[in-house]
């Protein structure tokens, strides 16, 4: 019952419970001191975790034992009382509210002006939000690739024809734009593997070197895994798979479109360069994508 505790009237049991609780909290104190010592000595994550565990388990155990054995207040029943107000209270509240509502309703044009004022303030607040970032305009349709951009590696080294063995892959960027995440391109030397090349792309590759956007058309992850024996590019995030010999058409997974191809050529000093930017937007779809 409410004002009795479990061990009431059993002095020996009480004393033994007290001893157990005291022991628990003593262990906590010792673990805490050990923790302090450990920090002075420099700390060690595993031991810190273990000591914190010991300290808090015994702290909690002490509380649970004291609640169970020595504290009153368990096993009581009480009334819940009624939640809803009485009819009179509701009416009084309504009357109190109407004291202010009625004058406003009578002057509904004032209410409209208030709404106008609030709306105008809200509208004015929209424009500072614009400074959070530039407007997209058509930036999503373009990357930093330009006619004549040299293909460089992530650390800026230009790539020459002949740098890749057959079935070799390399991630390349336009020279001077290695921070343009959407321009990342995967360069593959397919050697003389038979490709299905559409007529308008006959001149887009250089002797088996092909360049495709590395940004997955599903959710934008870098399509980084190339399997040379199957000539497939695999996205590590959601497993979209692209057939490199067939203009990187998606053959498995959620990607809805082929990876766009970057037209490349060989310049007079054997460096690989882009013929132009990508001819279609790279990466995942978005509302204004044509």
């Amino acid at each position: 019952m409410s004002d009795h505790f479990r061990l009431e009237g059993r002095p020996r049991a009480i004393r033994s419970a007290e001893r157990r609780i005291a022991a628990c909290w003593l262990i906590t104190a010792l673990a805490a001191l050990a923790l302090a010592g450990l920090y002075i000595a420099g700390g060690q994550p595993q031991v810190e975790g273990a000591l914190l565990f010991v300290a808090f388990v015994f702290l909690g155990l002490g509380f649970v034992v004291i609640a169970r054995d020595l504290l009153p207040g368990s096993n009581v029943t009480g009334s819940r009382g009624a939640l809803p107000s009485t009819e009179a209270e509701r009416e009084a509240a309504q009357a109190a509210f109407e004291r202010g509502e009625e004058p406003f309703v009578r002057r509904s044009f004032l209410l409209r002006m208030l709404l106008l004022a609030g709306g105008a303030l809200g509208l004015a607040a929209l424009f500072p939000i614009n400074s959070l970032g530039p407007r997209p305009k058509d930036t999503l349709r373009r990357t930093s690739w330009r006619k004549g951009s040299r293909l460089v590696t992530e650390d800026g080294r230009p790539v020459m024809f002949g740098d890749l063995l057959v079935d070799g892959v390399l991630t390349v960027f336009p020279e001077g734009h290695t921070d343009d995440a959407d321009a990342q391109t995967v360069l593959i030397n397919l050697g003389d593997a038979p490709q299905k090349v559409p007529p308008n792309r006959k001149t887009w590759s250089v002797d088996g070197y092909v360049a495709y956007s590395k940004v997955c058309t599903h959710a934008g992850c870098p399509v980084g895994l190339y399997s040379p024996d199957r000539h497939q590019l695999l996205c590590p995030c959601h497993q979209s798979t692209f057939a490199v010999l067939d203009i990187c058409r998606p053959i498995f997974g959620p990607a809805p479109r082929p990876l766009p191809q970057l037209p490349i050529e060989r310049d007079s000093s054997d460096f690989l360069v882009a013929q132009s930017d990508y001819t279609q937007p790279v990466g995942p779809g978005y509302w204004n994508r044509p």
Partner: protein, 505 residues
């Protein structure tokens, strides 16, 4: 009114002092402890004695399943404490630095200052790693506790009138917890979380009409931009935690005001509540639970490695590793992205991109359904009465079946989020794996729902309840002062009358 006198609050006029007439005469004669004096000081200024007495006398049910919400609450406390410590050392900056810290493999590597500061927290700051790992584990357990708590509320019908409002507040808390988990997970700017941000950006881009605009505003331009880490930081340490604190307070205030539900049983009625008083019984037990939560999180944080960012390396847009799994509570979305068939809608020079359906539409519908559930169920069952006593899941086979089916659906999505790990662990083909998951999404919920429905029907046919002792009825006191036995004696010979007294102030 109450039989439990409150001894810690002094009663004016209870005793007569030697110098009657002076203000001191109204104080009790026995020597006052500092608590008495503090209580009196407070009451003179705020009049808090009545509230204190009601609060200390408040009755809380004892069933273990009522602790789940408390576990979530205590995780939040741990998150705030450990998180505050981490903010002293974290640098929310994307400026490029070269690492010169004590972790050899990354020495001389270019990274963002954010990543560098998390490396220092992990290897240099005293108790840094253990705090960081406790923080991460606490986030993981926080969301888990919320979900399990919510399952308890759902399957026992605790969301029914008058508690629809608190269900809505609770669903909001789940949403905020997931949001804060994801933003915090993204802060270290490591390869894994950066990949997650890239996917989140693509999901935002896919929103019709406003997607690219939102994406650019949020990231400060085209991905990865330069502003995302500092913005996520403010969101993670200020906006969302403040919202959680406010929402959590509202959640607790409502449960305090409405009082807890309770399981039906001998002596339990719609108008009474049975359990332990807040003071001292429940308070002591709850502090004990708090300590256990801290203990478990500390053990996990110290002994179980989580998010070892030094193994992932700093984020580079051109890199990603296989087996990129997010924290568990985002797993269902990750799985949904993976099993989605590869189509997108292209109409009139506009595109509704593929990630929109699993990344925006699915969570939208999920949370809409969660918010609407109490009202949907009222529509179906036409039960609009107030309920303080809980349902046993078996007695509501349709609800239970629906809940099991829904959980199965999200469990399949969650597993699909790890399809590459599962495929390589069990040596299966990834393709077969995905197709199996796609089929399972349609089949498993239906099968599980049906099985749950049958099990409920079967169990409710046998009347025995596994947790209740049979009793010989309840003795209650009548208005006139007599006693009477209410309820049918049932069960076997192990009967005992349950006599209960007391009331709540």
């Amino acid at each position: 009114m109450s039989d439990a006198g409150n001894e810690s609050v002094a009663e004016p006029g209870a005793a007569i002092g030697p110098d009657a007439g002076s203000p001191a005469a109204t104080r009790p004669a026995r020597r006052q402890s500092w608590i008495d004096r503090l209580a009196q000081w407070g009451d003179d200024r705020l009049g808090i004695s009545r509230f204190t007495q009601t609060a200390l006398d408040k009755i809380f049910p004892d069933h273990w399943s009522f602790m789940l919400g408390e576990v979530a609450l205590y995780c939040f406390v741990v998150l705030v404490l450990t998180g505050s410590y981490l903010t002293f050392f974290f640098s929310p900056s994307e400026s490029n630095v070269v690492y010169h810290g004590s972790y050899r493999p990354l020495q001389g590597v270019q990274m963002s200052d954010a990543y560098r500061s998390v490396m220092d927290i992990s290897f240099k700051v005293r108790a840094g790693l253990v705090m960081r790992q406790i923080h991460h584990w606490a986030a993981v357990v926080f969301v888990a506790a919320i979900v399990v708590h919510m399952c308890r509320i759902f399957f026992t019908g605790a969301f029914r009138r008058p508690r629809e409002l608190n269900w809505i507040i609770g669903v909001t808390l789940l949403l905020l917890a997931i949001g804060n988990g994801f933003t915090g997970y993204s802060l270290p700017d490591d390869l894994l979380s950066g990949t997650g941000l890239r996917i989140a950006y693509s999901v935002v881009l896919s929103i019709p009409f406003v997607g690219s605009w939102f994406g650019f505003l949020f990231f400060g331009g085209r991905f990865p931009g330069t502003a995302i880490i500092q913005r996520l930081f403010v969101i993670h340490v200020l906006f969302v935690p403040a919202l959680i604190a406010i929402t959590l307070s509202a959640h607790l205030a409502v449960v305090w005001h409405q009082k807890h539900t309770d399981f039906p049983g001998p002596g339990k009625t719609e108008d009474t509540i049975h359990g332990s008083r807040l003071w001292p019984q429940y308070a002591a037990k709850s502090i004990g639970l708090f300590c256990f939560v801290i203990a478990v999180l500390a053990a996990l944080g110290g002994l179980a490695q989580i998010n070892p960012i030094w193994l992932y390396g700093p984020y580079r847009p051109a890199a990603a590793s296989a087996a990129s799994q997010p924290d568990w509570y985002v797993g269902w979305l990750e799985g949904a992205l993976r099993v989605m068939p590869n189509f997108e809608i292209r109409l009139f020079h506009h595109t509704i991109a593929n990630p929109f359906f699993p990344g925006v539409l699915l969570p939208g519908i999920t949370f809409l359904l969660l918010y609407a559930w109490p009202f949907l169920e009222q529509r179906f069952t036409r039960d609009r009465a107030g309920h303080n006593l809980l349902d046993r899941p078996r007695d509501r086979p349709m609800r239970t079946a629906f809940g099991v089916a829904t959980l199965s659906f999200y469990l399949v999505l969650f597993l699909a989020g790890g399809d590459d790990v599962l495929a390589s662990t069990f040596g299966l083909s990834l393709q077969a794996m995905i197709h199996t998951f796609q089929a399972s999404l349609l089949i498993v919920p239906v099968v599980n729902g049906y099985v749950a429905w049958r099990v409920c029907k079967e169990l409710s046919r046998q009347r025995a309840h596994p947790i209740q002792r049979p009793v010989a009825g309840v003795v209650t006191r009548t208005v006139t002062g007599g006693y009477e036995v209410v309820g049918e004696p049932e069960g076997d010979g192990r009967t005992e009358p349950a006599l209960e007294t007391g009331s709540e102030g």
